[in-house]
Symmetry: none
Subunit: 237 residues, 4 copies
DNA sequence: AATGAATGAGCCTTCATTCAT
DNA sequence: GATGAATGAAGGCTCATTCAT
């Protein structure tokens, strides 16, 4: 075999999703890793714009000024490259500030913090790391074999974080079905501000939201949601 | 024969989306359903499961026990068949009871009615016309050239209906940006109960919601939303 | 079988080209022969515009407001319909005035007559019976199995007519190779004024010839050709 | 490899026709001609025999012992392959000796030179580059999107060359309509000796012209044409 | 006397992948 | 260490024709 020197690049099948995340060390800047990096950069952009199925290997090679076979050579196959991109997205999402709050913060503060950091990132096409969110969005619309992995790493922790805050706020425990419903209500509202292809296609006159509008939307969601949670807490199940 | 009265299958151009809706009379489901009918039935199922792009003409022909060219003969092309399916979906959605309320009902009643009729239809895979909702969902994820038509016929009327109710409830007019945000919050919550391919793929152990759970979710959304709206009405813009 | 009552409509194979030309009697205007006539009219137009291969059975049916199978029913197959059209064209060409001259006319008169009747018919897109010429042109560019028939009925008689005139003019007999070459030179010049698809496509700014220009071209060809013939007659073989 | 220096087969859009002509060096006909070369060879033969529309990608792949997708890989699409063939034809036509004459030659010499080099090339099926002429012929009968390019590179320069000679001979300028008509007369006579599918199909007994006959025909055209031109010069417009 | 429906072969193109150096 | 070349499967679509009333 004639593989590049990356540690254990045997491209695993669809069975195990988790990668070791490339470990940071950009492999001794050996110069000829440039193609691999360009491919990753291009893949990050294209996959986040069009999703896994919307991108062809030709698109990737062309835009990365790489050979058509380069994807296969460096990543085993198209899914292998996608897996690397998703891994970076997960890493990014995982350390994001959305659920990173001071230990002593109140549930209300946690929810406000979540919404006001999350919604602007979702809504703004210019924000940093939107690409990761776009990847997630594509996965939700049209899941790949990587979906379970993503669910486990991204979705569940957030749900738990929100569930804990909501449960505390309602004075109940996380098993209470009302908690789950509130979490769903909150999360659904946030996601609805994500840029949306249907909107672009179906409403040609659509105007991008301004930053002020995005902030207003976030505040709205927080107020709206907290009011809803309190109301449900009062009336019992 | 069970064809509608169009004498020759002359398939209109891309200009106008709107069909006259197959003329009603589904002509006595005679058991030996004509190829055209079988194709429509299969297309309804497959398109709602996998979306326009996820279905090939060969899939359709095979499952309908029809010749590969039958789609072209009866519907002009793949999009023509899809257009018929979408037309049925729109017809179905259009006459649905969701926005069909007594004239003297209060805004709150209207919202409760909307949610309690809409959510069960979205959530239950056994309900009638889920397929229509699935088509809509696919259109939102991966719009086809039919998206503008769908937006016009389905989305806008609902938004107007909800916006009117919300504005009345808040004592403001429909131009108030808070109204739009509340409508989005409500609609997002409803849609989050729609069956979801990501959920199926990512959470293999997912259990279908019972009817009771679905009803509980609908009630939750109504309570939650009304509480949110009232709260926002109090605090002003 | 369920054939229309036309005399012996057994559509022969590619072997024998010659038809009996429908004989005039439009078969007792039985009313339901209308489709057949419409088909013939449409076929005359379309085949002359686009040639045999450039027209589909669908085109014919559609424009004649006839069923897709009508062509097959009435004419056996596409070539059968084409054969009828060609038969009419041959009939038309055969009785045309090009070679129909007074018995006592001089060779020079005959040639002038040929050119001045032939060229305007070829050149003008509005002239009567251009369609027959267009059919011929298409046959020359892209022959069908009917080509030998056409050659026999149309090309050879004209060649003989011209050869006789040229031979007389040169004071030689028709076996003289110079005669054949002069005939070719004359015919080639005439044909070069026929409307030409390449010209339309390749020279978008092309302007149609006026009637005066067409007449001038015809006169030119006659003068040019007669001068050439006389010159060759002088110098011997 | 024997590919030209284009590193990746990125196939240009429909905008520009002109190619840089394969860079010349046909790379030592190494016997094991690469697929690309075999495809080009087969395409040259088939396109010149049957024209662009008369050849299918399957024909090309089969006869070149190549995969069905090879045409797409090497040339983008069928038209891309055809474009290369036409480019070679144009290059060939462009450097041909037809219009390449000594500067001090007389108009009569130029016309004789044109005819006596052009006609044998057109007439003889054994001559070099007849295929190029056949391509041109097909383009005239059934133009492709490449027609304007061909007109510009091939037709116009020749017309100009002939027009100049004729105008000088007639003692008039190139704007004189008689000049154009003489050029058409000349060119039409030349082209009439090109091998012709109709002739093959319609006259199965057709006998190939001998070289002597071809030479005689060329001489005939020159004499005939010069006589015609002189006659027209005398009689004025 | 005619037609709506269906058919099978074929069209060009695109795709992710693998091979042979 | 990497890539130009090739591949087979599949994509949507069009065609002339034939079948079953």
């Amino acid at each position: 075999m004639s593989r590049p020197s990356r540690s254990a690049p045997e491209h695993r099948g669809a069975g195990s999703h988790v990668r070791n995340g490339r470990g940071g060390a950009r492999s001794a800047a050996s110069g000829d890793a440039a193609t691999r990096e360009r491919l990753l950069a291009v893949a990050t952009r294209l996959f986040s714009e069009r999703g896994f199925r919307g991108v062809t290997v030709r698109d990737l090679s062309r835009e990365a000024n790489a050979n058509l076979a380069a994807v296969n050579y460096h990543f085993g196959d198209k899914l292998g490259l996608y897996r690397e991109v998703v891994a970076m997205a997960l890493e990014d999402v995982h350390v994001d500030p959305t659920t990173d709050v001071a230990a002593e913060s109140t549930p209300e503060e946690r929810i406000r913090h979540y919404v006001t950091t999350y919604v602007p990132r979702l809504a703004s096409p210019r924000g940093r790391a939107v690409w990761a969110q776009k990847i997630m969005r594509h996965e939700m619309n049209d899941p790949t074999p990587l979906a379970p992995w993503i669910a486990e790493v991204v979705i569940l922790p957030r749900m738990r974080f929100l569930a804990e805050a909501v449960a505390t706020l309602m004075g109940t425990d996380m098993g209470d079905p009302r908690v789950g419903r509130c979490v769903v209500s909150l999360q659904a509202q946030c996601l609805s501000y994500m840029p949306n292809r249907f909107r672009e296609v179906a409403f040609p006159g659509w105007r991008e939201m301004t930053d002020a509008e995005i902030r207003a939307a976030a505040t709205h969601i927080a107020d709206f949601t907290l009011a809803g949670i309190r109301r449900l807490a009062e009336q019992g199940e």
